[in-house]
């Protein structure tokens, strides 16, 4: 019950606020001057969601509730109240009661964390008070039957409502727990699945990899190929790439998992029989550590190369520059034969090894979080079917948020359509995280 209400609450904020805002813009142009500058920036950030709301392409299933103020909901109020109290207490503590150095540092930290939240909360309280005053003024004016003034007061109230709306959004953004690895670069690996015949999986893998390549161009990220193993007849067997840029992991983390395809193939071996084929491919997204995050001791590595047999050097002229690194403590094996130079291959293999070791650390972290969220990143998600691409019905469905997109060709271009889906996924994840946070607080208070 709690969760539903919280989720509804979040959606209402992002949606209805928009509708109101949008309609107001069209009807009251001159009012724009009074809007906060922050509101503009906020709107621009969510611009594509606004567009998608109005476009016919997306088939969202939102229920438009009434315009009652949803943030009077108990859990959120209570949580914010608690935080505020804690903040005031800390304030007093730090000023009046002497504490020792270690405690002081941690208290200071907590104080700094809570300061912005408390500030927003104060603003909200003030704004709500103002709204109440305006409401009472409105009523009194109603009795005095002064239409003009009443209209002005109503408009004032609307503006402050918007402000409260926006403040609450800010609050949500700061409250929602952030993933520690969001800012990292990633290594993206795609592997084709197996079918009983034909090469539909390999073709599909290539299309998906191309999609991610264009997506990283679209987001102005840097993509570096680590491995590209084509299959026969033009498909892709497996490939790996390193993508670096801003917040890459944050956007790509929900792409990991099994993608399923259903189509009647036009090219390739399977196209001889015009029947619907089903295939799968898997995408793995590994956050890439910085140099300092993962330490690999050269003594723990065993390097296998093709020149290891015989005397090597002038005696041998094989062009196999493939390198295989074995990390002895964990037993991880990484191969690379992408470059002509063995030294370069070794460097690339070392980087991939680092990422895989980092991934192990990340997994351990996440396993400890006993979460029942639908949008999960971790070992469980790797083997779950997350998305289906149905070419015959021209539809992409993401199973985790029950979201459909039409026009697969547009989607596979890896630009706006994919970006919208990812934003939607991130939003859902935020909602769930928020709900979990409030749940925890609610339970602990009891």
């Amino acid at each position: 019950m709690n969760r539903h209400l919280c989720v509804w609450l979040f959606r209402h904020l992002s949606l209805d606020g928009y509708h109101q805002h949008h309609i107001r813009l069209h009807s009251q142009q001159f009012r724009q001057i009074r809007l906060d500058t922050r509101m503009w920036i906020f709107r621009q950030n969510r611009n594509y969601i606004l567009h998608s709301l109005l476009s016919k392409n997306s088939s969202r299933r939102y229920c438009h509730r009434d315009t009652r103020m949803p943030w009077k909901h108990k859990a959120l109020q209570k949580y914010m109240g608690d935080l505020n109290k804690e903040y005031l207490k800390l304030d007093q503590c730090l000023q009046h009661i002497p504490v020792n150095e270690g405690d002081r540092r941690s208290l200071n930290q907590r104080h700094a964390e809570l300061a912005p939240l408390a500030a927003i909360y104060q603003e909200i309280q003030e704004a709500e008070q103002a709204v109440e005053e305006l409401e009472s003024m409105c009523e009194s004016l109603n009795k005095q039957d002064e239409k003009q003034l009443q209209e002005l007061v109503l408009e004032e109230k609307q503006t402050i409502d918007q402000k409260i709306n926006m403040l609450y959004n800010e609050l949500f953004q700061s409250l929602v727990p952030k993933d520690k690895y969001d800012k990292n670069d990633v290594i993206l690996e795609v592997t084709s699945g197996r079918t009983t015949g034909g090469d539909i999986c390999q073709q599909f893998t290539r299309e998906i990899f191309d999609m991610y390549q264009s997506y990283s161009c679209y987001k102005h990220w840097n993509l570096e190929l680590l491995n590209y193993t084509p299959a026969d007849y033009g498909g892709l067997h497996h490939a790996a790439a390193r993508i670096s840029g801003d917040n890459v992991y944050k956007h790509l983390k929900y792409e990991g998992g099994i993608h399923r395809v259903q189509r009647i193939p036009e090219v390739g071996l399977s196209s001889r029989m015009q029947r619907i084929h089903t295939g799968t491919m898997s995408v793995i997204v590994l956050p890439q550590p910085d140099e300092i995050d993962v330490k690999v001791d050269p003594r723990d590595l065993r390097v296998d190369t093709f020149r290891a047999r015989g005397a090597g050097g002038q005696h041998v002229n094989t062009t196999d520059s493939a390198v295989r690194l074995v990390h002895i403590p964990t037993g991880l094996v990484v191969e690379c034969q992408q470059e002509r130079s063995q030294i370069k291959n070794k460097e690339i293999a070392l980087r991939v090894l680092r990422a895989k070791l980092y991934q192990q650390i990340v997994e351990k972290d996440k396993c400890q979080q006993q979460s029942s969220r639908k949008l999960q990143v971790g070992t469980r998600a790797q083997s779950e079917r997350i998305r289906t691409y149905n070419f015959t019905q021209d539809r992409v469905t993401d199973h985790r948020i029950a979201y459909e997109v039409r026009d697969i060709k547009e989607f596979l271009c890896g630009e706006k359509a994919l970006d919208q889906l990812i934003q939607r996924l991130l939003q859902s994840a935020d909602e769930e995280a928020m709900a979990e946070l409030l749940d925890k607080n609610f339970k602990s208070a009891k």
Binding site: G312, Q314, N317, S321, K346
Partner: protein
Amino acid sequence: MPVQYILREWDFQGLNLKMAPPVFIPRPETEELVDWVLEEEAQRPCAAGTQGGPLILEVGCGSGAIALSLLSQLPQQSQVIAVDKEEAAICLTHENAQRLQLQDRIRIVPLDVTLGTLPRIFLGGGVLDTERWWTHLLPWGPMDLVVSNPPYVFHQDMEQLAPEICSYEDPAALDGGKEGMDVIIHILALVPQLLKGSGSVFLEVEPRHPGLVSSWLRSQPDLHLDLVAVRRDFCGRPRFLHIRRSGPQCGCPVGT
């Protein structure tokens, strides 16, 4: 046919070099030789060469791989003198230097280091040696470094080499004589004449050579050379030697 000869080009240390039969194809191990030389050079104080960059002699330049990759990663003032006895190698090194725009910093000299008689000290007698061919190199000044990947395959192993090597690459670039030591000995013999007191020699050799080189140097005390370090390649075999003068490091070479 080796793929490098088919493609007519191959990479070495990040540089793309032209390949042409029968000139020797650079091996991946040699990239580590270049890395080692660069590491050592980076550690020395900057007053190494009189011009601000080291003067390097490369014996047996082949396609110019070692010389050009050193030049591309050392300061602008560094220079290389590359020698090879094979005309084809001289031409190929010249072409590669021009491709990489390094032709101003490299001097390519056709020279066979095994020709001419060995200096007096080997003959153990009063035979005077008139053909000091290495005096051709002296006008350029004493060297800071001598680098080489000399032919080091034992003569008896030559027939066991893979067919693509035997049939297409220059055997003279591979065959090092009875114990693979012929060219190595000649290089080490000319070091006292050409190398600065503080200079170093870096060689790529066969895994069996470190011991052989060490004992040979000890048998030639008049050379005053010591094997100071042996480095392993990425397969763990001892592959590279670092040799320096023993005793007080004097500034001028012996016997000019």
